[in-house]
Amino acid sequence: MQHRMLALAIATCCAALALPARADEAALKAEVDALRAEVAALKAEVQQIHAAQSAPAPVAQAKPVSQQPIAVTDAAAPNPGRSMSDAATANTTSLWGYGQIDYNHPTARAADARADLTRAVIGFDHGFNDTTRVYGELEWEHAIASASDAGESEVEQLFIEHALAPNYGVRAGLMLVPIGLLNEHHEPTQFYGVERNFVEQAIIPSTWREGGVAGYGNTDSGFQWDIGLVTSPNLGKWDPTSPDGRESPLGAIHQEMQLAKAHDLSLWARLNWLGVPGLNVGGAMFAGKIGQDTSKQFEGDANFPADNSRLLLGEAHVRWQSGPWDFTALYTRGTISDTQDLNLGFLGQPTPVPKAFWGGYAQAAWKALAWNQSSVVLFLRYEAFNTGAAYATQPQGLGTPPLPTQRVLTAGINYYLNPNVVFKFDYQDFRYDDPVLDYGNRFDLGIGFQF
């Protein structure tokens, strides 16, 4: 940031020097004297403003807004002037980041209480010129990543973006799947509750990304669209002996571009309408073959009967933010085809491949208090989801019955110290305990930030 500020300061200086050339020469000559007089007056006024700024900040009661001094926030940036904007863009690099620290305390099993540095993320972007940029995001999960530790170190996104016009462009690389409300905007300050909602962890995998090419854009009428051709999950990874596929069917088979099998590709598409301020209504789909020709990946006879299996995941949502209110509803459902033969070989195993899974939630949040940059938001969220809503039938009644639908009610508080630092508390009530997946009533504490 230091370098960035220095660069901007220099740019501002240049802008100041360049300024006279921008105005009409004759007018300038005529106005020089007037300007000098105004400069003197403005200096006095600026000093006045500065004095007001340095005055003790109101704490207990907010002054009427019109009486507040000019708010110079972190959003403030010295204006380099239009003539310098290109120079300010070319070859810039910026860093950002976010972090999340959680404490989960199951009420029935206090011994399982756990404190976790869930994730620490460093992101960067670099502009090669006005139209081409690279974005990257590096993540560490669970504090320590090594061969003998539980943590993971991963690249969450890494893609090149090329703007063809101000309102549309193309991307290529490892990108977040534009589905749901959380996947692309998963910083802890962006969601209510210590943990991300279950629907957008179990049905839409957490931080789901795939590699490929995509187009994006928006229209003057308020539509935001995305379309992409990307790597598919790999059904050949399915492990019927592990609970992973029950926790999140797609989370168990997505590849995160880790030497990803790329025989089969998928298509994603998303359309949102943002034409009324505060409203986001839209949906997305992700569809493609996921068998990855697994049967032909080893010598000998075909041994994987789901080469032609297909995934279709659809999602629809509406969000309405107005004043202190923030209402959200989201529903998503996925299907996997051609699982019958595959599951036949998995008879009796704890985790066969589901042919359908779904989830939905409704959430209401209310900003109860706001002062200076701080605010307190209360929220209530009701979720229902099922990672094994249906399984392909099997002979002899040896098939797997659908899993029961899990329902979770979460109530909690997000306390924003400022918009980028949040402390969270919530209580989650599960309809039934699931020790396999670590589901059970609990309260959670969390810290999150982003910059």
């Binding site: 501002t12 106005e31 403030a76 940036a77 239009r82 016009a165 101000p166 187009g215």
Partner: protein, 173 residues
């Protein structure tokens, strides 16, 4: 590619053709004309930078024009920049002679994240706002889901320009 892909790909192609009629950013001059069609003169003022203030990291120097229509003040015009997510958003704000917002334009937006602040429907929320209004996100300005940072920072930017107007410019003869 199999037949079942043709439909979604076709839809995608249609969308691309639709938006090939690309949006273009306005220059400052174009934005000035768009805001004040009948103005006779744009008088740059107060933009002479106090060099002593340059070393201050959060120094803030918007460009300001007083807009004349003949001998009467038609309004005020500002060019300023805020940070979106990680890059600067350059924008202009036009006030009428009484200090009410008439137009907010995005002049340059350098990243795709949060670019939805360009939507006219969102920017129109600022019309008729004055320094007496809160001009605060989630109060009288609604958010765009997924573009929160850009919305918040632009709203803060407009707010401070309105305050600058009321504290410094409104009293000018």
């Amino acid at each position: 590619m199999q037949a079942r892909w043709l439909l979604p790909v076709g839809i995608g192609a249609t969308v691309v053709v639709q938006v090939a009629h690309a949006a273009q950013y306005m220059s400052v001059e174009q934005a000035q004309r768009a805001a004040f069609a009948s103005a006779t003169r744009f008088e740059p003022i107060a933009a002479t930078i106090d060099a002593a203030a340059l070393g201050v990291a959060d120094s803030w120097k918007p460009l300001i024009w007083r807009v004349w229509n003949g001998n009467a003040t038609a309004g005020w015009f500002f060019e300023d920049a805020v940070i979106g997510k990680s890059e600067l958003i350059t924008y202009s704000l036009a006030l009428d002679a009484s200090g009410k917002v008439t137009k907010l334009e995005i002049l340059d937006y350098r990243e795709s994240h949060g670019g939805e602040v360009r939507l006219a429907a969102w920017r129109n929320q600022f019309r008729d706002k004055t320094s007496a209004d809160p001009v605060a996100l989630d109060r009288d300005i609604r958010n765009i889901s997924g573009a929160t940072l850009s919305c918040r920072h632009l709203t803060q930017g407009v707010h401070r320009l309105l305050q600058l107007y009321s504290h410094v410019l409104a009293a000018k003869p």
